[in-house]
């Protein structure tokens, strides 16, 4: 390879040295700004060549930089900006996949249940022994239950219900596998599905990380409110995290404290996941300890009964 052919393979070949003014500011600012198509970032991220060369020397010969030190300064700015952009993009892409998956999972589950209700109602008109729910759909589809008077459309509908329920189960498996790679601490503390729902409701992991824990505590309460207005659910006081074992397993009198503790730890977990990605098992222990303390309060005066607690559900 001749020198000039070699040079054109370097990342700096088509980069205008003037572009480096301001690259630093962008670097320090919101990562989102770094996602633009600046030629520096593109050159680092998309360039390819089989054989490395003595880039510092070639860049100086090429007058891309005055000397080796100046070259390395530019290389630092360039790799920082390019890697920041790449990281932000990859993380956002991973989040979005998870958000779609968990929403699709919920849609499939809800639709399967609604159709199963319809199926049961219909099957009840031709067979007094019709069972209930998705499990009845399965029996019908497998032929384990035979309708008193055979009905082709009812059996076909049962098969559709089963397909949807299976799809929901596959999606759940995907979510359970994927969430820990995207948010290892949040997934460990909340369970992968609840973690994915929180990410979905907030709009992304970064959005969970940036919300105060009080907001995390009521995330999802709006949905529950709509369900309530439609007549499906009791009045909501609480967000999604009320399905967390640590909250459900706590005496109703103390559920508010438990929910606050859980929301606080989930908020820390989301921040660790977003900013460092490192798994910190000590968070699990801290939450467990906190919940134990809270639960011990009601255990001590256990004879107080559960007066006034039911409205929490």
């Amino acid at each position: 390879m001749t020198d000039s052919a070699a040079r054109t393979a370097g990342w700096f070949a088509d980069v205008d040295p003037d572009e480096f003014d301001g690259l630093d500011d962008r670097d320090a600012g919101d990562a989102r700004d770094a996602r633009d198509g600046s030629t520096v970032v593109t050159a680092i991220r998309e360039g390819q060549t089989e054989t490395p060369q003595d880039w510092p020397t070639l860049a100086v010969d090429d007058e891309f930089a005055d000397d080796e030190a100046a070259y390395y300064d530019r290389l630092h700015d360039a790799t920082m900006a390019a890697t920041r952009a790449a990281v932000t993009e990859r993380e956002a892409a991973d989040d979005r996949q998870l958000v779609h998956a968990v929403r699709a999972m919920d849609d499939c589950e809800r639709t399967a249940n609604e159709l199963a209700e319809r199926l049961v109602e219909w099957a009840g008109t031709v067979d007094p022994d019709a069972g209930t729910g998705v499990s009845f759909a399965r029996e019908l589809a497998r032929g384990d239950h035979e309708l008193e008077s055979e009905s082709e459309p009812i059996t076909s509908l049962a098969e559709r219900v089963v397909d949807l329920a299976d799809e929901a189960a596959d999606l759940r498996e995907f979510v359970e596998r994927q969430t820990p790679t995207i948010a290892p601490n949040l997934a460990a503390l909340a369970g992968p599905v609840l973690a994915a729902r929180l990410i979905s409701l907030a709009g992304g992991l970064e959005d969970v990380a940036k919300k105060p824990s009080g907001t995390i505590q009521v995330l999802g309460a709006e949905d529950a409110l709509f369900a309530h207005l439609r007549g499906h659910a009791p009045s909501p006081k609480h967000g999604l995290i009320y399905v967390h074992d640590a909250v459900r397993g706590t005496h109703p009198d103390e559920r508010g404290s438990a929910a606050r503790a859980v929301a606080g730890k989930l908020s820390i977990a989301a921040r660790v996941d977003h900013y460092s990605g490192e798994r910190k098992p000590e968070l699990d222990a801290e939450l467990a300890e906190r919940i134990e303390t809270i639960q011990a309060r009601t255990a001590e005066d256990g004879d107080r009964g559960d007066s006034g607690g039911e409205t929490d559900e």
Binding site: A9, G10, W11, A43, I44, G47, Q48, T49, E50, T51, P52, Q53, D54, W55, P56, Y72, D73, L75, H76, T79, M80, A82, T83, R84, A86, V87, R90, E91, D94, D273, Y275, S276, G277, E278
Partner: protein, 215 residues
């Protein structure tokens, strides 16, 4: 065996105990004393190799160039950048790379790259030729292949400093068998100078020092 540490790496007292240390901004909550930061060999395979007095050939100083494969959040590569010159850090997972950026922000000769070490053509337009050392700690299947693929960056008298994790190749096999296979595969392009189990610091890991075979 060697008791020469690279320039810029010293045994420095922390709370009365001498520990490996470099000078730079702290990264992972390690103890510090003035500019010095302790280098924890239980969190770093290269740190363990130095503790075990393997002859890494590292000299330290601004002229020494290093390609680091599997940089993760920058625990080890931060120490390397502290004592060496231009240091290229390749990592392919996005979350740890975010930390790596922070580590690199205060180290002007540390260049972070989000790339797959199995595809050197995606960074050969950035990483210079003839680096003095390749440090590899990718803990993934195909560790020998990664070393072979990246041979193109290494100077003829350079060193490959490799940590092989047996369990990454095959959890069910005896680590010794895994190491033998990896070594045999390396022999195609490298001459192995020294190996040592890192057991004391890292279970089922083998440290390897090798140099490229002349073509």
């Amino acid at each position: 065996m060697s008791d020469d540490l690279p320039a810029g790496v010293e045994r420095h007292p922390f709370d009365g105990t001498d520990r490996l240390a470099t000078r730079g901004d702290p990264v992972y909550g390690e103890p510090t004393d003035g500019d010095w930061r302790a280098w924890n060999p239980t969190r770093s395979k290269l740190g363990a190799m130095l503790e075990l007095e393997m002859d890494t050939g590292l000299e330290g100083g601004d002229e020494e160039t290093v390609l680091y494969l599997g940089a993760a959040s920058g625990t080890t590569v931060s120490h390397v950048a502290d004592f060496a010159g231009p240091t290229y850090a390749v990592e392919f997972a996005a979350r740890p790379a975010r930390d790596l950026l922070e580590t690199a922000a205060s180290r002007p000769r540390l260049f972070p790259l989000l790339a797959d070490a199995r595809k050197p053509a995606t960074y050969a337009h950035v990483v210079e030729s003839n680096v003095d050392a390749i440090v590899q700690d990718v803990a993934t299947r195909g560790q020998a292949r990664v070393a072979l693929e990246n041979r193109r960056f290494l100077a003829d008298d350079g060193r490959l400093l490799l940590a092989i994790k047996a369990r990454s190749e095959d959890v069910t096999r005896d680590p010794e068998d895994v190491f033998a296979d990896v070594r045999a595969e390396l022999e195609a392009e490298y001459e192995i100078l020294e190996t040592s189990r890192l057991e004391q610091y890292h279970a089922d890991h083998l440290g390897v020092v090798a140099r490229p075979r002349s073509q």
